[in-house]
């Protein structure tokens, strides 16, 4: 008999996320990776400011709640204090790619041996649906009511592409959680990112394309379709950098 259970690393509490939000899936994938690698007892998670601000309640490992955008700097401190701990950040697009851009780029540049889970849903969710650094051209939000106009507010930031030019970064992959196949792929990538940290391979970032049905104004199923039709073409899935890929292939 196969019993579908919560991963141990995921706390047995009710999540506050909106119906249809894919944060729950990403939480589960992170928790599964922690379970499978048997690292819960030495893992420290850093929660961001944004929809996943309460992530500190949802993981059973030790957690720190960081200021907006500062999770990679806090993670740097935690990791440098106790290098044997496994340290991950869980951040949204506003946190990681707007107010925390410097912390993101420089923790990658230093090759900090941490794992960054970057949930990109192209909008600020917690504050009620404002334009994010990853909001698509033409996308309507509360602060881009006529659609994002790149000529006046600039273009979305493609984080994996940007960081692929940073020498210190080791492993960068973009995944999505809009289909069973993609969720499985995402799970593998997240686990690999933790594995890299265990092996001391340095900075990993997994960008997870995610949905926000509430602020996109779509039903959950339509939101999944919107992600597929609009986000994936702009943010192509795949591995953007893997410093150890060749070495891995040889083995």
């Amino acid at each position: 008999m196969i019993v579908f259970e919560k991963p141990h690393a995921l706390a047995d509490v009710k999540l506050h996320y909106c119906p249809g939000c894919t944060h729950g899936i990403v939480h589960r994938l992170v928790a599964e990776a922690i379970d499978e690698l048997g690292i819960e007892g030495k893992t420290i998670g850093i929660a961001p400011v944004g929809c996943s601000v309460f992530a500190y309640n949802y993981f059973n490992c030790d957690m720190v709640e960081a200021a907006h955008g500062r999770a990679p700097a806090v993670a740097t401190g935690v990791k440098r204090a106790n290098p044997d701990n496994i340290v991950f950040t869980y951040q949204g697009d506003g946190d990681l790619a707007a107010i925390g851009t410097a912390e993101t780029v420089h923790s990658a540049a230093r090759g900090e041996n941490i794992t960054v889970i970057f949930v990109n849903n192209a909008i600020y969710g917690m504050t009620g649906g404002q334009m994010a650094p990853t909001t698509l051209p033409g996308q309507v939000t509360q602060t881009s009511p006529y659609g994002r106009k790149p000529e006046s507010v600039g273009y979305p930031i493609r984080v994996c592409e940007l960081l692929s030019n940073v020498t210190g970064a080791s492993y960068l992959q973009r995944v999505a959680v809009n289909s069973v196949k993609n969720v499985k792929e995402a799970g593998k990538a997240i686990k690999k990112a933790f594995q890299y940290q265990i092996e001391g391979k340095g900075f990993s970032l997994i960008e997870v394309l995610s949905t926000c049905p509430t602020n996109w104004g779509l039903t959950p199923d339509k939101a999944l379709k919107w992600l597929e039709d609009n986000m994936i073409p702009y943010y192509p899935l795949g591995v953007y950098k893997d410093k150890y890929a060749e070495e891995g292939n040889k083995q």
Partner: protein, 355 residues
């Protein structure tokens, strides 16, 4: 005196941090505190410590938050404009009840200001280091010896009360050399069961956090914190007095201003004016009782500051405005001369006499 060495204030401070068991430093270059970073960049690798030059002051203070969360002693240093940038982190440190040591080698402001010594971050340090209700322990060294000993003490107080200690220094004390003894005594260790070091499967998870969306709960957190602050105000105020027993005129000054005031007091005594000095060593908690006591016999007070009149408010509050308080100040990187302070003492002597 055989064990004394000649050191710069900034270097004595850095060495004392290492002696206090601090093995993590994060900073960003800014004049006039760069010697702290330069010294630790050399020293930390030799004691298996971490020296990291952060991408910004903000990143540096958040790295401090990370190490403090993990339960280890940690510090950062900067000068006024950089401290403004760290303000966000100072508020989070308070909200998370984390111990840390932050050095501010002050320079003239506001804005980019200048690079010469100043005390104009007094309000920032004692009142408003960031958003929300909170205090930091604020220590004000007036000698190279104190740069070392107050750093050592600062780490201890930070751990004891789970607070940020700020060393509020100025460029003069940071740059000058004096003989210093680095005999700091024993490092006290504090259990930190709240630290995030991994559950090891043996306990429920620790959470370092300043967020609560329940106002009833957040209010309780604030009340609890202020109970601790009250205890600190009762127990931890430190000051030094010089010739105050019979003083008609009491000067209140800290840091380099207190050094200058000392010369003026000696000169005033030579002229027959009974002047004395109360030098606050802790700016928060402010040594209120010492001032209240002095107000019983003193005719007037003089606040000597390298700012536009900041500490004078604490003096007036401490003595409930029962005596005149004169301001003797310079700003923008200027330091009052002993002659200027003496002139103010003479004026205070005249005014005080009219009361």
């Amino acid at each position: 005196m055989g064990d004394k060495v000649l050191m710069k204030g900034n270097e004595a401070l850095a060495e004392a941090a290492i002696m206090a068991g601090c093995r993590h430093y994060f900073g960003y270059p800014i004049t006039p505190q760069t010697e702290v970073a330069a010294y630790l960049a050399k020293r930390m690798p030799l004691v298996d410590g971490t020296f990291l030059q952060a991408e910004s002051e903000i990143a540096a203070i958040n790295m401090v938050i990370g190490v403090a969360s993990a339960g280890k002693r940690v510090m950062t240093s900067s000068s006024s404009p950089g401290i403004s940038l760290k303000s966000e982190g100072l508020s989070y440190l308070a909200g998370c009840d984390l111990p840390a040591l932050v050095i501010n080698v002050q320079r003239g402001g506001p804005g980019l200001g200048g690079i010469q010594p100043s005390q104009s971050d007094y309000f920032h340090a004692t009142r408003g280091a960031g958003h929300g209700d909170f205090h930091m322990l604020v220590l004000a060294p007036a000698s190279v010896q104190e740069m070392a000993s107050l750093v050592f003490k600062g780490f201890d107080l930070a751990d004891k009360y789970r607070m940020t200690t700020m060393i509020l220094a100025d460029g003069t004390i940071g740059q000058m050399m004096e003989p210093v003894s680095l005999d700091m005594g024993e490092v006290k260790h504090y259990d930190k069961p709240w630290a995030v070091t991994g559950t090891k499967g043996e306990r429920t998870h620790n959470i370092v956090n300043s967020l609560s969306l329940l106002p009833e709960e957040l209010e309780q957190w604030n009340f609890k914190r202020y109970e601790r602050y009250a205890e600190i105000e009762k127990n931890e105020a430190l000051y030094e007095s010089f010739l105050t027993e019979d003083a008609d005129i009491v000067i209140v000054a800290f840091g380099v201003a207190a050094r200058v005031a000392r010369n003026a007091i000696v000169a005033a005594r030579a002229k027959g004016i009974k002047a004395g000095l109360i030098r606050p060593i802790t700016l928060w908690p402010f040594p209120k009782s010492a001032l209240k006591e002095a107000a019983k016999t003193a005719k007037a007070f003089v606040s000597v500051e390298l700012s536009m009149g900041q500490m004078i408010e604490d003096i007036e509050l401490a003595i409930r405005c029962t005596r005149p308080v004169l301001l003797c100040n310079r700003a923008g990187g200027m330091i009052p001369t002993p002659e200027e302070v003496l002139a103010k003492i003479e004026k205070a002597d005249r005014i005080g006499g009219e009361n």
